[in-house]
């Protein structure tokens, strides 16, 4: 069991006072490991708040480099133009909280490396920006039985959902396959504002913290869809689907590259 030292008691004082956290909860946070996939708009607040709260081990995977168009929403990369985002995010974490061990993976998550990466962590946070990456993480987390906190955004809108593999609805229960490439606008084409990624990233970090301390309620078997322009909050029930191609009766047994191209359909044989 971790024993909090004097400086940790000071650093975490405000959350140690919360009955649901306290010393035990803080120890759980310090012992937890979380993989954040994508250090962009969603990843920035996720990484920032998990590191601040003292999550002991944070893995950050991102193959992209920081560019000027990122800075309007990706708040942790100050002064790091041109640097790999995972490495830039790791620098941010090291400055913010020395209690956190951070591992930067300066590459994208692929069919080849997904399961191996996911396996090293207690919880995975999906902060990616494409349908194939989202389906890949969902399927890898099902195969490794690792909880996954999903979120996706566009303009002023976004959604969040938490998945406990084989217990609650998965991302493919919600969306069995992706829209054909090019049919749905991306943030690059349709835009997004930092407050949207900030809002949903903070909700994701909150889900992770509750998962770690085993307190409160989660967005499991439900999806929160919010339109921040109109302040329209929709909590939608999502059921675990028996014919879900990933977690249903004919669940997937392995990751195959053909599941993550075009519409990401899983053809059951």
């Amino acid at each position: 069991m971790v024993k909090l030292d004097r400086s940790q008691i000071r650093r975490y004082a405000r959350q140690l006072l919360i009955p649901e956290i306290g010393g035990r909860g803080q120890e759980k946070l310090l012992e937890a490991s979380v993989l954040v996939v994508g250090a962009g708009g969603l990843g920035s607040p996720v990484i920032q708040y998990l590191a601040a709260a003292g999550v002991g081990m944070i893995g950050i995977a991102d193959g992209d480099e920081v560019d000027e168009t990122n800075l309007q929403r990706q708040t942790i990369h100050a002064g790091n133009l041109g640097m790999n985002k995972a490495e830039s995010a790791a620098q941010f974490v090291e400055k913010l909280n020395p209690d956190v061990k951070v591992e930067a993976y300066p590459f994208s998550v692929t069919v080849e490396n997904a399961r191996d990466l996911v396996r090293r962590y207690d919880i995975v946070v999906d902060c990616t920006d494409t349908f194939p990456a989202r389906f890949l993480l969902n399927d890898a987390c099902l195969l490794e039985s690792t909880p996954l906190v999903h979120s996706a955004v566009l303009r002023f809108e976004g959604q969040i959902m938490t998945i406990i593999p084989h217990e609650t609805a998965c991302y493919r229960c919600f969306l069995p396959e992706a829209p054909p490439p090019g049919s749905v606008p991306t943030c690059r084409e349709a835009g997004v504002i930092g407050v949207t990624t900030g809002f949903f990233g903070v909700l994701q970090a909150n889900e992770v913290i509750k998962l770690i301390i085993s307190k409160g309620e989660l967005f499991t078997n439900k999806l929160l869809y919010v339109d921040l322009l109109h302040n329209d909050f929709n909590l939608i029930e999502i059921s675990k689907h028996p014919s879900c191609p990933a977690c249903g009766e004919r669940r997937i047994k392995e990751l195959r590259s053909e599941y993550y191209v075009e519409t990401c359909r899983i053809e059951t044989d």
Binding site: L42, D129, F174, T186, A190, D227, L229, H230, S239
Partner: protein, 87 residues
Amino acid sequence: MKVRLPASIYRDAEIEIDADEITVEELVKILSEKIGRDLRKLIIRNGDLSPFVNVFINGKNVRHEKGLKTIVKKGDEVSLVPAVAGG
């Protein structure tokens, strides 16, 4: 049956439709007449369910079932959710 529309599709609204058993396609038609705006262009594309919008009946995406031909029954709850993937 109750239909929940998010603001980005129409305006934040919960609309009651009085019908016993209709398909999603018929529901979209009745809904459009009721709100005075043609949602078919948004929800239906090339005779199929548009990739932009997901239709849920009691928490189940109709893409798992028969798409536009899926049956909606009296008392069902229908929600529409736009597709997003950005991060």
